[in-house]
Symmetry: C2
Subunit: 346 residues, 2 copies
Amino acid sequence: MADAVGVSRSTVSNAYSRPDQLSSALRERILAAARQLGYPGPNPTARSLRRGFVGSIGVLFTSQLSYAFTDPFAVRFLAGVGTATERHGTSMLLVPLPKEQVDARRAVENAAVDGFCVYCVADEEWALDVIRARGLPYVSTAVRDDAAADERFVGIDERAAAHSVAAHVAGLGHRRVALLVDSVLPDAPAGPVTLSGFDRAPHPTTRGRLAGFADAFAEVGVGWSELTLLNAPGNSGHAASAAVAGLFDRPEPPTAVLAGSDVLALGVLDALARRPGGSPPVSVTGFDDVPEAAAAGLTTVRQPAQEKGRIAAELLLDPPTDAAAGHVLLPTELVVRASTGPHLRS
Amino acid sequence: MADAVGVSRSTVSNAYSRPDQLSSALRERILAAARQLGYPGPNPTARSLRRGFVGSIGVLFTSQLSYAFTDPFAVRFLAGVGTATERHGTSMLLVPLPKEQVDARRAVENAAVDGFCVYCVADEEWALDVIRARGLPYVSTAVRDDAAADERFVGIDERAAAHSVAAHVAGLGHRRVALLVDSVLPDAPAGPVTLSGFDRAPHPTTRGRLAGFADAFAEVGVGWSELTLLNAPGNSGHAASAAVAGLFDRPEPPTAVLAGSDVLALGVLDALARRPGGSPPVSVTGFDDVPEAAAAGLTTVRQPAQEKGRIAAELLLDPPTDAAAGHVLLPTELVVRASTGPHLRS
DNA sequence: TTGAAAGCGCTACCAA
DNA sequence: TTGGTAGCGCTTTCAA
């Protein structure tokens, strides 16, 4: 306590937090004394407690935090969040979620933040429950049909986006097709899995993308049961390679692979390139259009990653008064590159 | 207050924080009541104030926060920090630093953290001053010769690393050489700058790298004044392109460009490739060995980015008892690829 | 323009 | 095993 300067604690407080409440001469005197006494200014925690807000927002990943920095889409998303927080003078807290449900809940309960951007790649309901219980605002990065009026989100039309790329592939004549998606089923190993319908996938994003893929092939007479569904345990090139292992040695291998992300698609291209005897003529598509996709010539669907992050943070930091403005749908765009081509074999 | 359950506040507190201090039956009863009453568990801020620690560490970038996610080296560094915090059950707070010194100080003063990883690309002394005044521990990512015994850091031998790549280029016969470095002088524009000696560069890292470059060429009889020094205002491909604009139209253009980072080097390669009439035979080297460098065939010096981040965080979270163990020097390695070759023109 | 006092929500000590 | 109490460091009324 620097009231050793001869003033009261409130005056010191004012010197830091409300410079207009005291003479600048006195303020300067207090600041000088603080410097000399080594007082580093108000304790942030105590200040937060009293004021009722912290000055930072949390970003939640339901996958590993270290993974977030490995995934190019997530990195772009974070960059967007960064620009918004920067502009707003707010910090961003990256909260790692432990494997165990109980511990993960605890982590969300204990985060000292004023709100959350929920960037989830798996089930997220439990996290939203905790956040709501804490009475904190949040913005989710998926379109929620059942969203309450005060619930904010920024997302894309997953189904329509997936349809656009699948229709492109179907239009090229492909009929034997594999769909490669991250975590179709919670603990399934890499490789083919069976789902009685796309609507059985637990994660909403996955469900939307599978639905779009299925729509496009239904339109050309290929039913859900005729599509090969491949599970990738994790969104990584490695997981993708594992998922397609042996796939092209089958008697009637797929002539196209539609992946649920660019990272998976790049893994497939990599696996194909490594095949002894050269790469078979398989069309491959991704999702997101991360920077690496262009270099690899990957056909994909672009969604604006950085914008998504920026808007998510802005929605959190400057809530629109109009509830409808809190539901943002971002545009997507089919990007055709060299990784897709006409079906060659009969 | 959930002592509407019939117990005291301390018992409720114990139910959350010290489960061994009460019967599991009572604990369960309290937790159930909390769930019903919608009590979300202890308020993190109040808990932090009382306990005296927060459970999160700050990561400081002296450049824009959004930049941190654009720079592949920084992203790998953050990934490393992420793995360590994850393992430790700690969150990481990314603190954006405003342009204005005063505001930036305030940002560091106000960050609710238990310590800092200081990843700086420019002058950092003021930040360290604030952190020390707050009495918080920190780990810096540059070797500090004048480091106090309790000061921790993880870095590389910048001078030796830079020497290794410059000696490689000198060994190939190059004598007319340009050195391209980010922010040689605070507000200099892109392009050639003059410095009476490498030791006049304000930022220590820059100084170290320039020193290593200069050493290698001094060994083959090329003095500092014969080297062309180029300033890039910012670590980006764009800044690099701007810095080398017109350089190769000179009467006696450099036959090699040594860049202070891969990002800059890739910008130079890009600028060369775009030249009308084709790319002149210029050798280019980078620094860091980011993932993109391999694809571009860039000769560079590898430093372990993710390890640097991980070790920085670990040094902060689990301080070694032995002071010497707090000073970590990471190995570097010259990686020769296609972007360097023998000097062809006389 | 300044000072006194209350209390943000919690935990840790100590006594029962 | 449980409850009472002090106080973490600050901001913010309100009164002087």
